[in-house]
């Protein structure tokens, strides 16, 4: 089922990606200046995946995310202020400061959480898809997970059950070639995670994860299939993270070469797409700059909000444990 790529869809995809990129770069700086505590896994380089998928979803469709979750939440409609406040550990954050980067979530947006457990998402997404079917809605659940996560048993159990029950779930593999510092060739004997779909009775589709339109189109098909009751799809997006596994510069390890990074940076999903938008006369350079400037201004506001927000009161520690 082909969706016509209107100008407004293309502009929307662009905005989603820019919002993610700008937020992540700022978050990285905030972490380096000591304002954000804990671990920060940045999504820079992978923006096309979240944006291309999320453009098809409403707030009633759910997603599960990963430790690298800010991009998913932003693409799902997350607002900068409560996000930044959460990363700062403030009471005004999406999770009242209890979750932080690794557990950022928003139930109203159908964002069932970043996850500190690799492979934590697939069973939950499968359960949400079950719920969508059980409650007779047309909603779908999208599960984002990494190449590394595809080695967890939880993924395989969830995929099997999704295939068996024909659940409206899309397993979106963000294959960035590494699980932490271990290259894919050292953690699995296959090249395409999509191959695993065959074992669970669902189609496995491979797409260029640096091309937001390609992701948008492939996700559109999988999601339409799911909404039509035809069951799950495994959509593998080949992508790359531009920063280190954790933080910006990470541990300074030499597990990947600068050359490799530079090669991938030539495929920067935002640069590529902006070139295309200009070529097709959809956005001018000035209009593109205006998008960036507006997003940057929003982020400034979010930082001010996070900085001026109070920390949670210690009495909050034992609240929210039970309903």
């Amino acid at each position: 089922m082909a969706v016509t790529l209107t100008d407004s869809i293309l502009k929307d995809l662009h905005l989603r990606m820019v919002r993610i990129r700008r937020f992540e770069e700022t978050a990285g700086k905030m972490m380096e200046s000591g304002k954000i505590p804990g671990a920060l896994h940045l999504y820079v380089g992978e923006e096309a995946v979240a944006s291309g998928v999320m453009a098809h979803l409403s707030n009633d469709d759910q997603i599960t995310s990963t430790h690298r979750g800010h991009g998913h939440l932003i693409a799902k409609g997350g607002e900068f202020s409560p996000m930044m406040a959460e990363l700062f550990g403030k009471a005004t954050g999406y999770c009242k400061g209890k979750g932080g980067s690794m557990h950022i979530s928003n139930m109203k947006l159908g964002m069932l959480g970043a996850n500190g457990i690799v492979g934590g998402g697939p069973p939950i997404a499968m359960g949400a898809a079950f719920s969508n079917k059980f409650r007779k809605t047309k909603n779908v659940a999208c599960c984002f997970f990494g190449d590394g996560a595809s080695n967890e048993g939880s993924f395989h159990e969830a995929a099997n059950m999704a295939g068996l029950y024909k659940l409206p779930v899309i397993f979106v593999c963000e294959n960035n070639g590494y699980g932490e510092y271990t290259p894919q060739r050292n953690h699995q004997a296959i090249v395409d995670v999509a191959d695993r779909a065959a074992g669970y009775g669902m189609p496995g589709v491979i797409v260029d994860g640096m091309d937001v339109v390609a992701v948008f189109e492939a996700a559109g098909e999988a999601i339409a299939r799911a909404r039509a009751g035809e069951g799950p799809t495994l959509l593998e997006c080949k992508t790359y993270r531009f920063y280190d596994h954790v933080g910006v510069r990470g541990m300074g390890l030499t597990y990947r070469t600068d050359d490799e990074l530079e090669e991938w940076k030539k495929k920067d999903p935002i640069d590529l797409f902006e070139g295309r938008l200009k070529e097709q006369g959809i956005l001018s350079e000035a209009e593109i700059q205006a998008v960036h400037a507006a997003v940057a201004a929003d982020i400034e506001k979010a930082i001010a909000f996070a900085e001026s927000s109070p920390f949670p009161d210690p009495s909050a520690i034992e609240q929210d444990v039970y309903a």
Partner: protein, 333 residues
């Protein structure tokens, strides 16, 4: 083997001591191998496998997929058939991924087989809060392991203990968990160059005292010592005991101390309610009830997951002040 006399002690960090222990084991045991996520090329996310794959080769130090059930299962199968696996479970929180392999296979295989199988498996894992790593990377889950007959567990709190306990764990023919603490990684201490083993059954009296007993383990040992120093001015001369090994537990040393001091407090970083401290308190009252002058106190974390925000976490994790407050409340001073 008894503890070595420190003839050639140098100052090492906790991380370096762990590294030296694993190196020692790989050298002395030809059937030992190490396996875990990112431990080969990267040397582990906390660096304690640094250089070991380069030194011993990729057929002794393995990078595994992110498959914790697979990692522990690898240890069970290989351990039962002649190898001596040293497994790395990056964070203790990830026990959830492999609890069946731990609780139903690793812990029980020998017993179910009527004693016919040995499981000489060492599991290194990282516990502890204080680094803003939130609910799934900060837990102290030692009580889960203590409740499993068939598994031993120790919690080294200094570089010296880390080396000696890891060597003992790897020489033991039983599964042993070595629970490390992420806030202690940079801690420095004297570590003898030669090989030594700290028995998995003997508590360490870290600070002798006359009229109060504090039993603490893991990083809480240091908080307990700091608390004991503060309590001195209040006329409380606290003996601080680090059991070092929780299973088997050196009940005798603790009970002997309480018979002398007549008062006791158990301190752990784990959630207080249902924590292993309750078992120790129970042991003390069973064996030394007539010697007690006050109810046995306990200090531990509140009954909630570990919060992310530093503003909450700093109140969540027990510290010296919380121990002092607990002692004062217990003694009414």
């Amino acid at each position: 083997m008894a503890e070595a006399v420190a003839t050639k002690a140098r100052t090492l960090t906790y991380v370096a001591a762990i590294n030296e222990a694993v190196r020692t084991v790989l050298k002395e045991q030809p059937n030992a191998f190490a396996a875990g996520e990112d431990i080969g090329g990267a040397g582990g996310v906390y660096g304690y496998f640094h250089g070991l794959q380069a030194e011993f080769g990729a057929d002794r130090v393995y990078d595994t997929p992110i498959s914790e059930k697979g990692i522990i299962g690898l240890g069970v199968g290989a351990g039962a058939t002649g190898c001596r696996p040293i497994l790395d479970l990056m964070f203790m929180d990830f026990m959830g991924e492999c609890m069946d392999e731990i609780a139903n296979q690793l812990a029980k295989m020998r017993y179910m087989f009527g004693g016919a199988a040995n499981l000489p498996v060492t599991v290194l894992t990282m516990a502890g809060a204080g680094a803003s790593l939130a609910a799934q990377h900060s837990q102290s889950l030692e009580a889960w392991v203590c409740h499993l007959p068939g598994v031993k567990i120790c919690m080294p709190c200094t570089p010296y203990d880390a080396k000696g306990l890891i060597i003992s764990a790897a020489r033991d023919d039983n599964p042993v968990f070595v629970v490390l603490n992420k806030m202690s990684l940079a801690m420095k201490g004297e570590v003898p160059e030669e090989t030594y083993a700290i028995p998995l059954s003997k508590a360490n009296i870290v600070r002798p005292g006359s009229n109060y007993t504090i039993v603490a383990w893991g990083r809480m040992v240091h908080e307990a010592v700091a608390a004991a120093n503060k309590l001195k001015d209040l006329g409380v001369d606290a003996e601080v005991i680090d059991p070092r090994t929780l299973q088997p537990f050196d009940t005798a040393t603790v009970v002997q101390s309480v018979k002398k001091t007549h008062r006791a407090m158990i301190v752990h970083e784990a959630v207080r309610f249902g924590g292993f401290g309750g078992e120790i308190a129970s042991q003390i009252q069973e064996l030394a009830f007539d010697y007690l002058d006050a109810p046995i106190g306990r200090v531990g974390a509140p009954f909630s997951p570990v919060p992310f925000s530093p503003a909450l976490e700093k109140h969540y994790v027990p510290n010296a002040d919380a121990i002092v407050a607990g002692v004062k409340a217990q003694l009414g001073i």
